[in-house]
């Protein structure tokens, strides 16, 4: 019930939001139009100043846009009509839109238009007005942007506005930012007794606009008390920066780890559960990535991934089943031969892709909803990496459910533990083998979709991951999904922790050397399989 009512309320809200500008501002539009027309009659800039103030007082969604256009000298009258337009470019045939409604009006020659002129005083005034409009905006994002633009360009004229806003600002974060902005102004004060507490208040802010002045104050302020306060404040900032750095490293490590897990988790099924070495695993990932590319040739980029994931699973699962039925089933119990045969398959797949799609890399586009950055607390992270971490967790959870909660999973585990006994109980082991291999291969394809968002898609994509993913499986302990998870994450984090100290390539080498040593010490991995299956 609760969800239904809230859903209804949401719908109603949505409808209001859509209607609001139409209903409320229908009347205001004409007032705005006549106000704009008065600019034409304005004799001098004093009159225009008054008009600009009137314009800013209008509660209309286009107010900010109009002021900006006026400051940029992009506001025009149509010479033969009474319409005010905004020029969108500077071509001789200018693209214009209606100033009030924003309706696109096509292109007009520059001669048909009269520019509304502005001088520098007017522009400075408009900038201030825009800042206070931003501060007063109902949207917290715009308010934050207004304060941040003040930080970049602290203008004494804006101080009063900030102070006024500080009294009424409901958002706690913006309130803090406002305090910092005002402290930044105080830091430039003549009075040392004002500067010292301001420096203290600025501690912990990592923005370069705040840290820079603070660093200067700590270095060469005339007053020793201010220098001291700035130094103490800076230690706070540095500590915070360091913590942010660690958090960032950790996130990069998690992100790399989840890529490793995605690459290794399919192997954990084929190698771990079935004991089959599939050297073509990397090439199956490559096929998944190419599937994504193909889907993007047909579908808009934003919709491609939800289609590519199941399709890649299907394609690579079928290829995997073909490999199992055609080659691997003749080689059970001869792991070294399996290794060689599947390596041959990997060469064939590589060359096939090279012949069909050309040896050049293909660029796979990132959908809008995956590009850009997002704030996780104080940490700014790229959205595609975050999505891939989530995707990795989802794939892992799904695989876990399939293996633990479905009939197929039960049969897979039974065959893995004791093939003869499982057959005696009526499990068709040949079918289970094919399906398990298909499952592992399908997951490789899904991993390929994720990889296509991070790296170049080319015929060598798989080769770069095959050694790594085998190491993850072996490190975690063969036949243990959780081991793969822990191993992938810890290797990813270890790699990224080493990187700043040693460089990317050396970090990779060090991790490999560590793994080689680790396997000597514990040949069965972190979490060895126990019980009868382990002795085979």
């Amino acid at each position: 019930m609760v969800s239904r009512t809230s859903f209804r309320a949401g719908l109603a809200g949505l409808a209001l939001m859509l209607l609001a500008p139409l209903v409320v501002h229908a009347a205001d539009d004409s007032a705005l139009r006549s106000l704009l027309m008065q600019f034409r009659e304005a004799a001098d800039f004093t009159e225009k100043t008054a008009l600009v103030e009137k314009l800013a007082a209008q509660d209309h969604p286009r107010t900010a846009i109009l002021l900006k256009a006026l400051a940029d000298s992009r506001l025009y009258y149509q010479a033969d009509g009474d319409r005010v337009v905004i020029g969108l470019n500077d071509a001789p045939e200018m693209t214009i839109e209606d100033a009030v409604s924003g309706e696109a009006l096509g292109q007009t020659g520059k001669r048909e238009l009269d520019r509304v002129t502005a001088n520098n005083r007017l522009r400075a005034m408009i900038e201030n007005l825009l800042a206070s409009l931003g501060l007063a905006s109902a949207d917290p994002k715009q308010r934050r942007a207004a304060v941040e633009s003040f930080l970049r360009n602290p203008d004494p004229a804006g101080v009063e506005r900030l102070k006024a806003r500080q009294g009424v600002e409901p958002d706690k974060k913006i309130q803090e930012l406002l305090t910092a902005a005002l402290a930044l102004v105080d830091l430039a004060s003549e009075d040392a007794t004002v500067r010292a507490p301001a420096a203290t208040a600025l501690g912990g802010w990592t923005q370069p606009e705040i840290r820079g002045p603070l660093l200067r104050a700590a270095a060469d302020d005339s007053d020793p008390a201010v220098r001291e306060a700035a130094k103490i404040a800076l230690t706070k900032t540095e500590f915070r920066l360091q913590m942010l750095g660690w958090a960032e490293t950790l996130f990069f490590g998690l992100s790399l780890g989840s890529v490793l897990i995605l690459a290794a988790i399919g192997l954990a099924v084929t190698f771990g559960v079935m004991g089959v070495i599939n050297m073509a695993h990397g090439e199956l990932m490559m096929l998944g990535a190419y599937t994504t590319w193909l889907v993007q040739q047909w579908l808009p980029v934003n919709w491609s991934l939800p289609v590519a994931v199941p399709l890649a699973f299907l394609v690579t699962a079928l290829v995997g089943i073909a490999i199992e039925r055609g080659i691997i089933r003749f080689l059970y119990g001869r792991p070294l031969e399996t290794l060689l045969a599947t390596f041959g398959v990997s060469l064939i797949l590589q060359q096939a892709v090279r012949s069909i799609f050309s040896p050049l890399n293909r660029s796979v586009a990132t959908p809008d909803w995956m590009s850009g950055t997002i704030l996780l607390g104080p940490l700014e992270v790229t959205l595609n990496r975050l999505v891939i971490v989530g995707f990795c967790i989802a794939v892992f959870a799904l695989l876990w459910l399939v293996l633990q909660r479905t009939r197929l999973g039960l049969e897979v585990r039974a065959v893995a533990q004791n093939r003869a006994m499982a057959r005696a109980m009526g499990v068709r082991s040949a079918r289970v083998d094919a399906l398990t291999f298909g499952l592992g291969s399908g997951i490789a394809g899904v991993a390929g979709v994720a990889l296509s968002q991070l790296t170049n898609v080319g015929p060598n994509l798989g080769q770069n991951y095959i050694v790594d993913s085998f190491m993850v499986v072996v490190f975690g302990g063969v036949g243990n999904l959780w081991g793969t998870l822990v191993a992938g994450l810890s290797l990813g984090v270890a790699n990224k922790l080493l990187e700043p100290w040693s460089g990317a390539v050396l970090a990779k080498i060090l991790v490999l050397v560590f793994l080689i040593l680790f396997i000597q010490k514990r040949p069965r991995g972190l979490f060895p399989q126990r019980g009868r299956a382990a002795e085979v």
Binding site: L336, I348, V505, L506
Partner: protein, 362 residues
């Protein structure tokens, strides 16, 4: 001439040695004495290519010793090959002297280019031929011994060992790609001028290198053949067939394995050292995991556990590679991949196995 019994019993080996003897006399004759316009004349290029095959064959023999007789599938033997090659390449690099592009009497060109002021410590001594020749054996051998000692003592075996040998060569490849390592980074070592004062461009030097490769292959073959006919050789086969049983019978399995693995790595190093002056370059690409696996497939094609098969496989596959990459470059990887699949599925005993079976049935 009296031959030891282990050699007399090995008919295929005698054929191989006879062939090697014939070519190491015949090919110099065809190259040096037959006039260039005669149809039987062999160009210096062909001699070099054949010499390259012989180096590959020696690498294949080294792999067959550990895989065919001891059951260790090493996917990192190209690393030992490349290390031997780098050791000898360093000697050739020091021989360039002032003839390099920058004319520095001590530093190789790439170090001058990177603005290095003095030779790194590990480059010292490589201006002496005997030291470099010794290092060709010591460096791969030492790595193989340390690696093998730890791996075999912890009883890492089967596919696990294969995977970590692959990781080893992969890590070495990444390391040698780094300029800071001091081995020329991406470009490797190249632009060699002469060896022991003989120009590498001269026909005669190439002939001598070819004959040396043939001798090294014959020597490597005889060493391995002798080894597998001794009591130690029997232990090897016992380990391959049942490691636990060999251990319970009282053999120190890990010592035997480490010893033979080291010997095999040294043979691979020698092959690499002979390879470098003939092709004129050594770069980190030689460490690529694909190279090691390709070498394994030579052995599989010829028939593992036969030693002669390794030589046959290496020469045949590489001949096919030279021919196909020239004539139909698109097809080569298809063919190689197909070869992997076909040999494991249809020819588990290789070409030699096929011949032997035919002999047995007739």
């Amino acid at each position: 001439m009296v031959l030891p019994r282990w050699l007399l019993a090995d008919r295929a080996g005698l054929v191989l040695l006879a062939v090697l003897a014939v070519i190491s006399i015949g090919i110099p004759v065809l190259n040096l004495l037959v006039p260039p316009d005669h149809p039987l004349h062999l160009t210096a290029y062909t001699v070099t290519v054949l010499g390259k095959y012989l180096c590959y064959a020696l690498l294949a023999v080294a792999i067959d010793l550990v895989w065919g007789y001891m059951g260790i599938l090493s996917l990192g033997h190209a690393a030992f090959f490349a290390l031997g090659g780098y050791c000898f390449g360093m000697y050739l690099m020091r021989q360039i002297g002032t003839r390099g592009v920058y004319g520095d009497p001590v530093l190789p060109d790439f170090m001058v280019f990177l603005n290095w002021q003095e030779l790194p410590w590990y480059w010292h001594g490589f201006d002496l031929f005997w030291f470099a020749a010794l290092m060709v054996l010591v460096v791969p051998g030492l790595l193989a011994f340390v690696f093998g000692w730890f791996a075999f003592r912890s009883r890492v075996s089967g596919v696990y060992l294969s995977i970590i040998t692959q990781a080893l060569t992969y890590a070495l490849m990444l390391a040698f790609f780094r300029n800071e390592m001091g081995f020329g980074g991406n470009n490797g070592l190249t632009d060699f001028k002469d060896v022991l004062g003989f120009s590498l461009q001269a026909n005669e030097t190439r002939i001598v290198l070819f004959v040396l490769s043939a001798l090294a292959l014959a020597g490597g073959y005889l060493l391995c053949r002798w080894l597998v006919s001794t009591r130690l050789g029997r232990v090897l086969v016992a380990i391959r067939d049942s490691e636990d049983r060999a251990r319970f019978l009282g053999y120190r399995v890990e010592r035997v394995k480490a010893l033979v693995f080291t010997l095999s790595a040294m043979l691979a190093g020698v092959a690499g050292a002979l390879y470098v002056p003939q092709v004129g370059i050594i770069n980190p690409g030689e460490f690529a995991p694909l190279n090691s696996i390709e070498a394994v497939i030579w052995v599989a094609v010829g028939g593992r556990g036969t030693l002669v098969g390794a030589v046959v496989g290496a020469v045949l596959v590489n001949y096919a590679k030279t021919w196909l990459t020239g004539a139909l470059p698109e097809i080569w990887l298809f063919a190689l991949g197909g070869l992997f699949v076909a040999v494991t599925l249809l020819l588990p005993r290789g070409l030699i196995g096929l011949l032997r079976r035919r002999e047995a049935t007739t």
